[in-house]
Structure formats: structure tokens, C-alpha cells
């Protein structure tokens, strides 16, 4: 079946045999964007988090056919080394990653949180950032999330268009 959507600002169409295939595998294997990670396949760890219409979604448990007509942003579309998203800038400043495998999922979850809540408290962070990091970089991630909130311009945080 053919599925059309916008991926990282590019109109994209894929033709896949089985529409129930998790979106994660379409992103990773069909479209060859490897920044979105496989961790558990049961939406339990958050390594596969990306944005669908601005909301953080665990793509390992999201059927590909559901994405028809929607807008997807992955870590590759969040920002670049030349033009990093405030969350990525904060991650660089705090030197957060260790092994790094779970980090795209955390950054995508954080970007979505800041989109809804530009100045999250520690409690907001505790309740909304529920991904798993085995290197346990949580202490630096919390600092980076607060730093990203500082770096996010007011108008961008409240604007409807993310990643502009």
C-alpha cells in the first residue's frame, strides 16, 4: 500500500507490503533514517520517539498506515550541527550522551515537552520524560532540559509550527 506524509519538511511517499508494519521500520529501513532507534518494540523505553503532528510518539508501536497525511519529524529533522535545535544545543553544552543510543528519543521527547510547556518544572520533567537510559545520564539530561527551556525563544515555544 502507498502511504504519503511529510517527513522532516519533505513530502514523502512509501509503498509497503503491510500497512501494520510499525512506523519505526519504515523510517529506519525503507527511508534509511537511522537516528530513530529500536529498543523494545513495545513502547516501553522511548528509544524510537519521533514527532507526529508535533506530538511525541513511540514509533515502534505505531502502524505505518496511520501516518497517512501527517507530518513526521525525526532527530535528523530536529536540527543540524550548523543549526541545532535548542534541545540539541543544550545537550551539546551539558555534554549529556554517554553511549548515546537512547539520546535521540530523549531529545525528541524533550522537544515535544517544551513545545507544550516552555518552562517545565522538575516535576513536569519527572512526569513527562519517561524514557529509559541505561547509562543513567538523567542528572545531565535534567540540566539540559532546563537549559533548553532557557535557549528556546518565547515566540517559537508558543508558535504552532515547530522546527521552523
Amino acid at each position: 500500500m502507498k502511504i504519503s506524509f511529510v517527513l522532516n519538511n519533505e513530502p514523502t511517499t512509501v509503498d509497503i507490503a503491510d500497512g501494520t508494519t510499525p512506523l519505526l521500520w519504515v523510517i529506519r529501513d525503507t527511508l534509511n533514517l537511522k537516528g530513530t532507534k529500536f529498543g523494545c518494540g513495545k513502547a516501553a523505553c522511548g528509544a524510537c520517539t519521533l514527532h507526529i503532528d508535533g506530538v511525541a510518539i513511540r514509533s515502534c508501536s505505531y502502524p505505518a498506515s496511520f501516518v497517512e497525511g501527517k507530518t513526521i519529524v525525526t532527530i535528523e529533522g530536529l536540527g543540524t550541527a550548523k543549526n541545532p535545535h535548542p534541545v540539541q544545543q543544550a545537550w551539546l553544552e551539558e555534554i549529556v550522551p554517554q553511549c548515546g543510543y537512547c539520546q535521540p528519543g530523549f531529545m525528541m521527547a524533550t522537544a515535544a515537552l517544551l513545545h507544550q510547556n516552555p518552562k517545565p518544572t522538575d516535576e513536569d520533567i519527572d512526569q513527562n520524560i519517561t524514557n529509559v537510559c541505561r547509562c543513567a545520564t538523567y542528572y545531565r539530561m535534567r540540566k539540559a532540559i532546563h537549559r533548553a527551556a532557557e535557549l528556546t525563544p518565547e515566540k517559537e515555544a508558543t508558535s504552532d509550527t515547530q522546527n521552523s
Binding site: 530513530t36 551539546l92 529509559v132 538523567y138
Partner: protein, 716 residues
């Protein structure tokens, strides 16, 4: 110990298309026949080797655009080794951090670690040889620049990858161009520490950008042209043996290319991961299961007295039969690695050669096992390590590489194959459960007259790649399980430590810091109890039992530093209490203070203060990062983590039910104090996991009056 110079004869040089490959041979072999001495070395983490063969090893390349590529024999799994190695090499080579990059050495480059990446010895083990290699290469470039320019070598200065020749400069790339016969000087002297621009500084990680912008650097991101996807059917029951399989349904499923029946596994190869997984589910396998195990069986097997005993330490008199002994028992459960990147591999068999890309801590073992199964020469197997999505000891065994190679051979195409999360949890090589018995006798004035620690554990290092199997026959015990089992209070006059080894019905292995977490939990909870019984402050009590030698001074210093920085007090204030604990692991002493409260019957860790002496911190920021991560990972194991065995199955099989520390649990403050009590780098990645368990438990004791003796800590 004699200084281990890289000798001139061990240098070879290979030129290339605008690149100069510098090849060196390292032969630091582990030679020490005295078994007790060996055990002490294992416990002290002394670097035992660099490489191990006589084959040339590719270390450096200079590219046409004047960049240096360092081929690392150690893999990067988050511990920051690549960054530390780059700092050490850049300082001696006189290049900027933006002029050096680090890649994993493929096995065919020759620069393959014969054993493994692990044991917290990557930086300490390469500290001397890597700097000597880099300094030698710098001098080789100067000699060559002298030949090309006629400028006197002793008047040259070197900076930023350029040699200054008075009025002109030459870049390293220009110097290396067209050189076929390099002159190799004897290893030059190394710079003094204060001359270093990068070593000792908090340089950002060299892999930071790749990890923040989602670059495809991990094993599971690897691919090869025309690649197919494999899956292997695995049993859910412990000890299940494969009998037969009905594959008729799977054979006919869409996307399935081939189902293969080997003597020891059933595999399916398909055109996508999803198709392979679905076909795998449709294969009906008959397994033979001889026994239905339960957690209680495992606990019973692991009790002190059930396995083989080995006396590790024996000082003074045995007072274990005297009256008035204080006795306690502690346990720790089966733990999972739960690293986020599942084990996986891409393998391509092409005639008599194989290429593999994967996350592995044991490049040499992976190569050997694949070669053996396919009956080809090891030299024809190229293992290309990727960045690891977590190691923690889980990548010290890679049988999946063998299975992928067999599947690739069967279909004549590259095959990618990786574990499901359920398979990761059920087929982990677990942190073994442990049981500890401690006995002590106090004198009337509150000193320890006698102390005995008996601890029992499943396998940790038996048959592991890092420790040759024969060693266990020589040593009589498991050199991994004993980490942290030694008593580091050298002023106790009468002492026994005894390691008991048991065989469990499933595989257990290395889990970051090995026995350290459980052993220190037991030791330091007991020390806290003894301090209470003696009516002493826990910090003063510990200090009073430490000897005055070099090791003792460093341990005392971190204990004092942690207590001072935390403002340690042994009474709870406003519902919060501090718990204290210390350990020495792999030669690195570490002390921690956990500030804890109990809210809604949950143990909350608010702040951890950590003082550690790793010697020279090559990158103090990354040493701090390792402390922060180890503390939080150790806290996770202390409060939440355990695997159970129910009706022969290991459970749970997914994050969530396998409880782990999340953002909401992690300490909001972690304060790290670094001391430098020796003039070389020591172990960093594992030692800070030692004290945290007991530090938390000792704080809980001060809040509740109950001493919790079983991990994970559960309030009654």
C-alpha cells in the same frame, strides 16, 4: 616495575595513497605465576596487556587534509575512552583536537585487542604506550621534515600538525607524502603533565556531535548492500534443548527467503525485520526441558557453603568460633544488563571470507568463533566494531555473530539479525545472584578484632574472554565474582575472606563492576552496623580501621573528602538521613554519601556526594559523567532491579515490569569531588558503582532503625 617502552624494533611503517600508516607491535603480556598475586592484580585492575601478539597493528593514519585518524583497539560504549585516547595522542603528536578523529580498529587492521574492552582499564592500560607511540610518530615526522628541507631537527618546533622550519612550515601530510622508508628513533621522552594542552582538561567528547544529531554509528544501524534480515527461534524455558521443528507455515509466509535447521538453532531469513519476526513466531519448535526452575531454587543453590570455597585473604587468627560474634547475612538478586541497543550483527559471507559489523567488546573472540564455525582462517574474518549502544559487560559474548554468518552463507547474501527485547531479557548473561555471611568480633573499646566475609556467587568471569579459562583452574575461584570481595580495611588484625563459587542452570557473567556492587553492599552495610554497635561515628570508625600505607592513605582521603563535602552527620534531620559507604575497586578508592528520605513508603535518594581518586583524570568532565552514571545505575540496582525465575522462565521480559531508575527516581543532585593520589590514570568506569548500595541502605537504617539486607531494598 620496569618502564615499558615501545622499542624501536617494534615499529613498522606503511605508506599509502597520501596516507602514512604507522604500525606498531605491542607485547605487554600478563605474566605472573603467583596466584594470590594475580588475584590482587585483578582486584587492583592493574593493566595487564596491550594487544598481545607479534602482528603489526595499525595505530595512526595521516590524511591528505592533514588530519590524524587514531585506530582504537578499545571500543567506545559510552565510557569516553575515544575522547581520552584522542587527548593523550593529540598532546604528544602536537595536533589540535579538531585535527584528530578516532575510529574502531577493524580486526584486519591488526590493532585488535586480544582480550576485550572492559575492566575499567582502557585509559590506564594505554596511558604509557599510546603516548609513546604518538611521540615517536611526531619525531619520525620531524626527521623526515629534516631530510626534505635540510633544516636541523633540533631547531624545529611543532604545533597544530605542522613543523616549523624557521621561515616556512610543513604540514604532517606534506611531510608524509611519498615517504617509503621512514627512520624510526628510539621512543622519545614524554612531555611533563603541565605541558599538556588537552590531557587533564574537560574536553567535549569526540563523539558528541554524532550522538546529538542521530548519526548511524551503532551496530543496529549497520547495513550492507542487498542485505536480508534474519531471526533465530529461542526457547523461553531455562535449559531447553532443541529437538525438532515444524517450519511449514513459516516457509510459505510472505517475505520469507529461507528457513534453516542447524544442529543447535533454527533460523529464518526474510526481506524485512517484520517478516522475519512474524515467520519466526510461526515456527513450531519442540524443546526438551528437564527441570522447571523457580527463584527459590536459585536462591538455595547460591547459599554460602553450597559451592566450592576459596580463601582469598587470611590474616592473623581465626576467631570465628569465639563467643560474642556479631553476624549478618545479605543477598543480591539476579540482574539484567538491559542495555538499550539489543545485540545484533550484520554478517556477509563471501566464499572463504566474512565481514561482520556489530557492537562487541570482544573483537578477537567474535572473530575466532565465526572462523571456527565456518571452518575458515581467522585472518579471513574481518570484524568491524561499531559504537556500542551500551556495553556493561553484555557484549563479552557474541554467539549471534556466528548465527548471522551461518544464515548469510545459507542465502549467499548479507544478513542482519538482532534480538527482540524479550530475547534480551531471557537470554541475557545475567549479573549472578549472591549471598553473603559476615561475622565480626569487637574489642571492648570498639575496634574490630576479627572479621570474616563468606560470599557466594554464580559465574562472573569463568570462560569469559577477558580471563583465559585455565586461570580458574590455577586460581580455584572466579576472578570476576571476587571484585569488591576483598577487605580494604588493612588495620583489622584477624581477617578471613572466602569466595564460594556455584554453577547455575543459566549463564551469568560480567555486569558493570562485577561482584563490586553486591560485595560492597554487604561489606559496607556490615561496617555501618559495627560502627553502631561500637558506638562510633561511621566515618571515624572506618578511618580507624584503615592501614597507613599508600593504598590506605588514598582510601582515607576520599572518605574524609566525601564526609566533608556532604557535611556528613549520622543522625537524621527533618526526615532526611545520610548514609556513608566506601570501596576500593581496580585500584580506585571511592566514598559516597547518600541523602535519603522516605515518602509514601518509597525510598527517595535526593543527593549523592561522591569523592573518588582515579589518579590523573585525563578528562575530568568524563570522569564526573562516569560517576554520575554509575551512581544512578547502582541506585537503580539497589532499589528496583531484579529478575525472577517462574516455572522455568526468566521474567520479566520488558522495561517497566523490569523496574529501573527513570528520570523521576534519579538523584537531583550529584556532587563529585576528584582527588589525584597517584601520577597516572587509574580505573574510572566501574569503581563508583561500589559504595552506592550500602550508602542508601545505611541512610534508610538511620531513618527507620531497620537494616535492610536484601537487594533490591524493600521497606517492610
Amino acid at each position: 616495575m620496569a618502564k615499558k617502552n615501545i622499542s624501536r624494533r617494534k615499529f613498522l611503517v606503511r605508506g599509502g595513497l597520501g596516507t602514512a600508516g604507522v604500525l606498531a607491535v605491542g607485547t605487554y603480556l600478563f605474566r605472573n605465576p603467583l596466584r594470590r598475586k594475580i588475584l590482587e592484580q585483578v582486584d587492583s585492575g592493574e593493566a595487564r596487556y596491550l594487544g598481545g601478539g607479534m602482528e603489526p597493528m595499525l595505530w595512526f593514519e595521516i590524511t591528505k587534509v592533514n588530519k590524524v585518524i587514531l585506530h582504537s583497539p578499545k571500543v567506545e560504549m559510552g565510557q569516553g575512552t575515544f575522547t581520552g585516547l584522542a587527548q593523550m595522542a593529540a598532546d604528544e603528536l602536537e595536533v589540535g583536537m579538531n585535527q584528530i578523529s578516532v575510529v574502531h580498529a577493524a580486526s584486519m587492521s591488526g590493532n585488535m585487542d586480544k582480550f576485550a574492552t572492559g575492566g575499567s582499564n582502557s585509559i590506564s592500560g594505554l596511558w604509557q604506550p599510546l603516548r609513546e607511540l604518538a611521540a615517536t610518530m611526531r619525531e619520525m615526522l620531524k626527521l623526515e621534515a629534516g631530510k626534505k628541507s635540510g633544516f636541523p631537527v633540533d631547531e624545529m618546533t611543532v604545533a597544530n600538525g605542522e613543523v616549523n622550519l624557521g621561515r616556512t612550515t610543513m604540514t604532517y601530510a606534506e611531510i608524509a607524502e611519498n615517504v617509503t622508508d621512514w627512520e624510526v628513533p628510539d621512543a622519545p621522552g614524554l612531555k611533563s603533565l603541565d605541558a599538556y594542552k588537552f590531557v587533564g582538561k574537560p574536553i567535549p567528547r569526540v563523539d558528541l556531535n554524532a550522538k546529538v544529531f542521530g548519526e548511524p554509528i551503532f551496530g543496529l544501524d549497520a547495513q550492507m548492500p542487498d542485505m536480508l534480515y534474519g531471526a533465530v527461534v529461542r526457547p523461553t524455558k531455562i535449559g531447553a534443548k532443541y529437538v525438532s521443528a515444524n517450519t511449514s507455515k513459516a516457509d510459505a509466509m510472505p517475505g520469507v527467503v529461507k528457513v534453516i535447521l542447524e544442529d543447535d538453532f533454527v533460523g529464518v531469513i526474510a526481506d524485512s525485520f517484520t517478516a522475519a519476526e512474524r515467520a519466526k513466531e510461526a515456527i513450531e519448535v519442540t524443546w526438551e526441558v528437564s527441570q522447571s526452575w523457580q527463584t527459590s531454587d536459585i536462591r538455595e543453590m547460591t547459599k554460602v557453603g553450597k559451592g566450592d570455597a576459596f580463601v582469598l585473604q587470611k590474616e592473623g587468627e581465626d576467631l570465628s568460633t569465639e563467643d560474642g560474634l556479631i553476624q549478618m547475612e545479605f543477598t543480591s538478586p539476579l540482574g539484567a544488563h538491559a542495555q538499550l541497543e539489543p545485540n545484533g550483527v550484520v554478517a556477509a559471507v563471501d566464499g572463504d571470507s566474512v565481514t561482520l559489523k556489530l557492537s562487541t567488546q570482544v573483537v578477537a573472540l567474535t572473530r575466532k568463533e565465526v572462523a571456527k564455525r565456518l571452518n575458515i582462517d581467522e585472518e579471513n574474518v574481518n570484524v568491524i566494531p561499531t559504537f556500542l549502544g551500551g556495553g556493561f559487560g553484555r557484549r563479552l559474548h557474541t554467539p549471534h555473530a556466528v548465527q548471522a554468518a551461518v544464515m548469510s552463507k545459507a542465502v549467499g547474501k548479507p544478513v542482519k539479525y538482532f534480538f527482540s527485547r524479550k530475547e534480551e531479557f531471557q537470554h541475557d548473561l545475567f549479573r549472578p545472584p549472591t549471598h553473603h555471611q559476615l561475622k565480626a568480633k569487637l574489642t571492648d573499646d570498639g575496634h574490630i578484632a576479627y572479621l570474616q566475609h563468606d560470599f557466594s556467587s554464580g559465574d562472573v568471569a569463568i570462560d569469559a574472554a577477558m580471563v583465559p579459562g585455565f586461570l580458574h583452574t590455577v586460581l580455584g575461584t572466579d576472578v570476576g565474582a571476587i571484585r569488591g570481595g576483598f577487605c580494604h580495611y588493612g588495620a583489622i588484625p584477624n581477617l578471613r575472606t572466602v569466595s564460594w563459587h556455584v554453577e547455575l542452570p543459566f549463564a551469568t557473567s560480567w555486569w558493570r563492576s562485577l561482584g563490586l556492587l553486591a560485595n560492597t553492599f554487604a561489606w559496607e552495610s556490615f561496617m555501618d552496623e559495627l560502627a553502631v554497635r561500637a558506638g562510633k561515628n561511621p566515618v571515624a570508625f572506618r578511618l580507624a580501621h584503615i592501614q597507613d600505607d599508600e593504598k590506605g592513605k588514598r582510601l582515607k582521603a576520599v572518605i574524609q573528602a566525601a564526609a566533608d563535602k556532604a557535611g556528613y552527620q549520622d543522625q537524621a534531620v527533618n526526615g532526611r538521613a545520610m548514609g556513608f559507604a566506601a570501596s576500593t575497586d581496580a585500584g580506585t578508592p571511592c566514598a559516597q554519601v547518600a541523602q535519603v528520605s522516605i515518602e509514601s513508603n518509597e525510598i527517595i535518594v535526593h543527593k549523592v556526594t561522591c569523592a573518588m581518586d582515579p589518579g590523573i583524570a585525563v578528562n575530568p568532565d568524563q570522569v564526573r559523567a562516569q560517576c554520575e552514571g554509575a551512581i544512578t545505575m547502582g541506585m537503580s540496582a539497589t532499589l528496583y532491579e531484579k529478575m525472577d525465575v517462574v516455572d522455568g522462565e526468566l521474567t520479566p521480559t520488558i522495561y517497566g515490569p523490569y523496574r529501573m531508575a527513570l528520570m523521576k527516581h534519579a538523584p537531583k543532585e550529584i556532587d563529585v569531588v576528584l582527588l589525584q593520589g597517584m601520577d597516572k590514570p587509574g580505573a574510572v568506569g566501574e569503581p563508583p558503582l561500589g559504595p552506592i548500595g550500602a550508602a542508601i541502605a545505611n541512610a534508610v537504617f538511620r531513618l527507620t532503625g531497620n537494616r535492610l539486607t536484601d537487594l533490591p531494598l524493600t521497606l517492610v
